[in-house]
Symmetry: C2
């Protein structure tokens, strides 16, 4: 492929004509494909069908003799906390099992901080004149939606190869006491796949913040969601924060939504002793206990670390080829065109695709017209506004493998049409 | 038995001596019994053991072909909403299925109202200088704990035989715009067993309130929890509110916690079209979807209205004899003594016991010393303060039937000791 920006006007017109024709031909195929959300495929869900009959007819007694069918046990079953503890680098007593959604736990953390303040706050966050959050971009739309819901100002921070740009982060949090926290997806970031380096983790733990109740919302959503045999690990944030004298800085979140069954999994909150005590106190007003049967069901199914890792290998076998297919098709159609670049993540659920500035919305529109649904352009930015209108989030897990190639081709053709048209306009 | 207040000093001293001896003898039995919380007994949990293997190995498809294993379907499975709709007098589209806890849905409603305002609010409740809630007493401690957590002033309202004292309620809500709502357990109230009459429901729906966003928190926790063959029904609050021009006044809550398994059940929120839309909008920031597998599990197990009612009959067979035993023992030991009165509820989970003013705390202390744990005195009042120190909540469901008699006897003896000692003090 040629770098399109370097074509002369005539060659660019010819090229545009050709990709238009290819795009129209693709459209005629009348496909209906969906790359919008990070949903597991049916084949992945099948892996956990054992959950549909667990824990079993007479199996309801926890290791400590608790009858899991009845009320009680706010923090969650000890054996499930023990099973998940190593994944999140925390002792079991520093974990709380929630319902099915880690997003809900993040949302509730905001609620508790807003209405009651954290354990280090002098007043509820809602009493502050202004609250702001740092948002590494591109990032996760549902994180940003929580901030927007509660009127929390979002400040975008560039994402580098090793995590958020720490020069920017350090400067902002040091000078602005309204910045109460920061969103982090430290491993296989949604959508860039970025893994926070140990250096970045250390700097996040060590940095001086203008407010004493600053919090890292550490959404370790893809802790075990590797796409290669290289199981990348990140530094222990809670330990690092403690070592730097900021013991309560990190709120840790995770879930089994993409391990077992989305919606029917278990989520967790973790952190320092004080953070856990604070969260449990707030949570005790909200509910008597979580679904301990589902917790037991997960213990019976996953059994141990080995069981969990074997399951994740099976997930990888299903989805890694889909990622490879997208990369292959993008390389084939968009390689060296200079109008698009994309990530090749080692884990997580997304490929981040950057196109020529000002073209992302048009790509989504064209792809949709050609039968390929994409997440709306802007979704990966606060307030749904990508200032350069260039980033797209590609979610290849849900379609069957046979559909992924055509879907990626539809996207690639939309990219070529949109960007060549943009280049042609610039020449006028 | 004699009315103790009418005994002369000498006879009272003799009586006191006798009950002290009976109390000490009881204490020597070294029992360890618990009447604290409204927990189902193991025998009741056994009724729903089928849930432990449901929905079944290959059963994950909802009626509308939804794969319940994956994300999506925020409002909850249509077939479960249809199954529960008649119980709560609402069309299925006016119900939202939550996780396992209706308390959590009530808590979250407060959160949404505080941080965002209801669909009729001009500003978030947290922006108001003062917010107050009406609390019929005696009432449910966990309701009051939510108000206390969020700094909402609680105003106690007397509970009459047909529901809250409507003269008091109407007067208060008409004059005080800070009163944003009211707690209601309209059927088999916790702990009094009171059933709101149609007249009371009508007046609650019709009354003029000083604030336009006043809300009834209608916790229909015991909708199908009858203790007799008489299945008492209450008037339809949402319909009544609409008829009186206050369509959005009622937030309805319920759960299957005491139908299937506490903790592993499903909860629901219901109300007007606008309230449901409002709640769903808020909830959509918190989670992607509930546990649809557990929803399907409940549909497969309960099947239909008939299945639900048959299950509730089985519950009644287990717990009605326990209530009868408490009433029998109380009547035997406390009947006509004039120092205690108690309810004989037709449903729900509690017996409300009133003792001589100023004696409730001492009864709890004495009962505990004799091996019978009771809910702390004051629990049924806002701020845990019973101004007359007289009300106790008796929860007879959890112990096995054979233990209920002795437990009730321990309470009765504690009542006799505490009240005779109080009467003796008064004579001095």
């Amino acid at each position: 492929m040629t770098n399109l920006a370097q074509l002369n006007a005539q060659d660019l017109k010819v090229f545009h004509q050709q990709v238009r024709e290819r795009y129209e031909a693709f459209k005629k195929r009348g496909l209906k494909l969906d790359l919008t959300r990070g949903k597991p495929a049916s084949k992945q869900l099948d892996l956990s069908n054992a959950l549909l009959t667990l824990p079993g007819a007479q199996d309801f007694t926890a290791a400590d003799k608790t009858d899991t069918r009845n009320y009680g046990g706010l923090q969650g079953l000890a054996e499930l906390r023990a099973l998940l503890a190593p994944v999140f680098d925390l002792p079991p007593e520093n974990l709380i099992i929630g319902d099915n959604s880690s997003l809900a736990l993040m949302h509730d953390t905001f609620v508790y901080a807003l209405l009651k303040g954290t354990c280090d706050s002098t007043q509820p966050w809602s009493k502050e004149k202004r609250i702001a959050f740092l948002c590494p971009v591109p990032g996760y739309d549902r994180h940003f939606a929580i901030c927007e819901e509660f009127g929390i100002e979002m400040i975008a921070v560039p994402m580098n190869d090793e995590g958020p740009d720490m020069h920017v982060v350090e400067k902002l949090v040091a000078q602005d006491a309204a910045i109460k926290g920061m969103w982090c997806i430290p491993k296989y970031n949604n959508p860039t796949g970025t893994v926070y380096s140990t250096k970045v983790v250390e700097r996040l733990a060590a940095m001086k913040t203008a407010t004493p109740d600053f919090r890292l919302f550490w959404d370790n959503a893809y802790a075990v969601h590797h796409l290669t045999t290289e199981h990348i690990e990140i530094a222990n944030i809670v330990e690092a924060c403690a070592r730097h004298g900021h013991a309560n800085r990190a709120f840790v979140y995770g879930s089994t939504s993409k391990v077992t069954l989305p919606g029917a999994g278990v989520a967790l909150f973790g952190g320092s002793k004080d953070n856990v005590a604070w969260y449990l106190k707030r949570m005790s007003k909200r509910t008597i206990s979580g679904d301990k049967i589902n917790q037991l069901r997960h213990v019976r199914y996953l059994r141990d670390q080995g069981g969990l890792m074997a399951l994740m290998d099976q997930h990888r076998a299903v989805i890694a080829p889909k990622f490879a297919k997208v990369i292959e098709v993008f390389t084939q159609h968009l390689g060296n065109t200079g109008v698009a670049s994309w990530t090749d993540p080692k884990g997580g659920y997304f490929i981040s695709l950057d196109v020529l500035d000002g073209c992302a919305k048009e790509v989504v529109r064209l792809a949709k017209e050609a039968g390929v649904e994409l997440t709306p352009a802007g979704s990966t930015y606060p307030y749904m506004k990508d200032p350069q209108d260039r980033n797209l989030r590609i979610a290849p897990t849900f379609p069957v493998l046979a559909d992924v190639g055509p879907a990626a081709e539809g996207v690639a053709l939309a990219v070529l049409v949109a960007t060549t048209e943009s280049l042609l306009k610039q020449r006028r």
